[in-house]
């Protein structure tokens, strides 16, 4: 077994890999940009490559430890959703167990894991394309699509739709990380008429909207999703106006979680929030006393009953089919 010193170096290697993967590119159409679960899997691949163990049990232990480290790092210093990282790690661990059952010889198994893992980034891109090809048909000519969050999957879907149809996109501003503004820039440059809305305008604009399309950080067992804060309110409002809510997500985002309420979804809020008043034309910072608590989680949970359909690489499915898929996978 590795000494303490080696262990420490090993630790930072896994995290280094992870950070390298995550910062590769955040642009919406950047083909090299990786989703969280993929980044986690690439980092774990590094563990498999470097392993000095020659039994499956040993490797499993190392992988488990590495994934615990990744999740711990993310919950204290990371700014992204824990769910997608967790589901990526979980998927990798499950896959390695499955491979071992098929190939009991350790070396053959290790080779298979490495080979499949390296292909995974490509598979995930292909998943995005498949989702775009099934989902774009749901956008009709002359319709208004409302979206929220910076999902690359949704971007791919809308770009594909724009190849054959004219429609317009409304994006929510997406405080506090301006995802809406960045998305608006992207869609506008792609030639799609775009409108940015204040987050609070959701109720006021819903009559004009024909459909809502969002991505997901994670899809949970009961068919609900975890996504950028505001998705839950948006979906409730949409369903109240009888507008369909579609979720575009790859199947590797299916997580073994069964939340019963919002507080069952952990969310890190390490980012500090600023309050600005721009109504007078200038940017005025409003200082709030320290005694005032600020509640701004990064994600929320949207229950299955507000979701109409999910577009995945496994096809178009209803929220109740998510559980069937998960039962089959496990």
């Amino acid at each position: 077994m590795a000494t303490e010193q080696q262990q420490k170096e090993e630790d930072s290697l896994v995290l280094q890999d992870l950070k390298k993967n995550l910062t590769r590119g955040m642009a919406l159409d950047d083909k090299t940009a990786v989703a969280m679960p993929v980044a986690a899997m690439n980092a774990l691949l590094g563990v498999v490559q470097r392993t000095t163990s020659n039994t499956m049990m040993g490797l499993q232990d190392e992988l488990k430890e590495a994934s615990d480290q990744i999740l711990e790092w993310n919950s204290t210093e990371g700014t992204r959703s824990n769910i997608s990282l967790a589901s990526g790690c979980d998927l990798f661990l499950r896959y390695s167990t499955r491979t071992f059952l098929e190939l009991p010889d350790f070396d053959a198994c290790r080779e298979a894991i490495l080979e499949r893992g390296q292909r995974f980034a490509g598979i995930s891109l292909a998943a995005r394309d498949r989702i775009a090809s099934v989902g774009h048909q749901f956008v009709g000519e002359g319709q208004v699509v409302l979206t929220h969050g910076g999902s690359r999957v949704v971007a791919a879907l809308l770009l594909k739709a724009a190849e054959t149809k004219h429609f317009s996109v409304y994006v929510l501003e997406g405080r506090p990380d301006a995802t809406g503004a960045k998305a608006a820039e992207f869609y506008s440059k792609a030639g799609i008429p775009t409108k940015i809305l204040l987050d609070a305008a959701v109720g006021q604009i819903m009559d004009e909207v024909d459909l809502v399309v969002v991505g997901a950080e994670g899809v949970v067992e009961n068919g609900g999703i975890v996504n950028k804060l505001g998705t839950n309110a948006l979906s409730i409002c949409a369903r109240a106006h009888d507008k369909p809510v579609y979720v575009a997500a790859e199947s590797y985002k299916f997580a073994r979680l069964y939340p019963l309420s919002q507080k069952d979804i952990p969310s890190n809020t390490s980012v500090k929030l600023d309050f600005v008043d721009t109504s007078s034309g200038k940017i005025e910072l409003v200082k709030v006393p320290d005694a005032v608590q600020v509640h701004h989680p990064l994600s929320d949970y949207t229950p299955a009953k507000y979701i109409t359909l999910l577009f995945t690489d496994l096809g178009v499915m209803t929220p109740s089919a998510v559980s069937d898929e998960l039962i089959r996978l496990y």
């Binding site: 067992e221 009961n222 068919g223 069964y258 019963l260 309420s261 299955a304 109740s320 559980s323 069937d324 039962i327 089959r328």
Partner: protein, 323 residues
């Protein structure tokens, strides 16, 4: 059995297996019997079950599934071992062990697994106010396990006629778990709703479309709680899953003792204008259920059919022995 003195799916299943066990032990094949297994099925199992069902009391889903299991256990006996029924006890022993194993695994271990799952996954948390209705073994297991782990919670027990089963659950929770309990009748449900954080219900059977067949009154509780946006969790062992779907609650229901519903001053039953209907079960639609907790974990009600396929291949295929 005919007097409905044994209540509850688990109890009835256990007793059925004990009775079948005794019948099988006493069975003596005639010298002309070609296939002992075939004979047991036709001479012992099927007639007994038919008798109990038609003359005593309709069977529950749990009994139906257990019966299918016994039939397939008999059919799975090695032919030669079975033929030596009179000379060797091996076949009897095999059957005895499989039936005991069935009860151990599908009822007892399942209850414990569900109880552990609820606590392991922190489904029951500090500060919870848990509402439950009537009395189910699995619910008692869940709440006692949570209490054992020193989780700080309290329970509101809702009860009603005709059976007032909640009183025995109340006794169990107080005596064995020292759990903080509130006891109300069904008509007081809306008063306590404000404080409730979770609702745990048991079931007699889980239908294929996710609806829940349980003690009469359960549907009321579930619908009221769902309206107030409380999470409604149904805890049930997988052997209670039925391959059938019911559209309403009257089908396959049973009548209890009318005196439990309406006590009349004189014993004169000749009042033609008054019909007392002491139904024992009702059906809760899947919409009112947030999740179903089984020994396989928690799943949405719409996935019950998938679980049936994985767990009870005989019940899924056989449409006669089942409920």
């Amino acid at each position: 059995y005919a007097t409905q003195s044994n209540l509850g799916g688990n109890a009835r299943c256990r007793l059925l297996l004990e009775a079948l066990q005794a019948a099988i032990q006493d069975y003596v094949p005639s010298p002309k019997t070609k296939d002992v297994r075939h004979d047991i099925s036709n001479v012992v199992l099927k007639p007994s079950f038919a008798y109990w069902t038609h003359h005593c009391r309709p069977h529950s889903v749990s009994m139906g599934n257990a019966f299918s299991f016994v039939k397939s256990a008999v059919a799975a006996l090695d032919r030669d071992i079975a033929q030596q029924w009179n000379t060797s006890d091996e076949a009897k022993l095999i059957l005895k062990e499989s039936m005991e194993q069935y009860v151990q695994e599908r009822v007892h271990y399942a209850d414990q697994a569900i109880a552990h799952y609820m606590s392991d996954k922190s489904i029951i948390q500090d500060g919870d106010v848990i509402l439950t209705y009537a009395n189910y073994e699995v619910i008692a297991h869940v709440l006692l396990e949570a209490a054992r782990r020193k989780t700080q919670f309290r329970v509101i027990l809702v009860d009603s006629k005709p059976l007032l089963e909640g009183q025995s659950l109340l006794r169990t929770l107080r005596e064995e778990g020292n759990i903080d309990c509130t006891y109300i009748l069904l008509n007081a449900l809306s008063f306590v709703m404000k404080d409730v954080t979770k609702v745990l219900l048991g079931a007699e059977a889980l239908m294929n479309d996710g609806s829940v067949y349980a003690r009469v009154g359960t549907a009321c509780v579930a619908s009221c709680c769902k309206k107030k946006n409380k999470s409604v969790l149904v805890c049930a062992e997988t052997y209670k899953i039925s391959h059938r779907v019911q559209l309403e609650a009257i089908t396959n229901n049973e009548l209890g003792n009318p005196k439990n519903v309406l006590q009349k001053d004189d014993d004169d039953d000749s009042d033609d204008n008054l019909r007392v209907i002491p139904l024992l079960y009702d059906l809760t639609p899947a919409d009112f259920v947030s999740g179903i907790v089984t020994e396989m974990g928690i799943l949405p009600p719409t996935s019950v059919a998938v679980l049936l396929r994985e767990m009870n291949p005989d019940a899924a295929a056989n449409s006669q022995g089942g409920f």
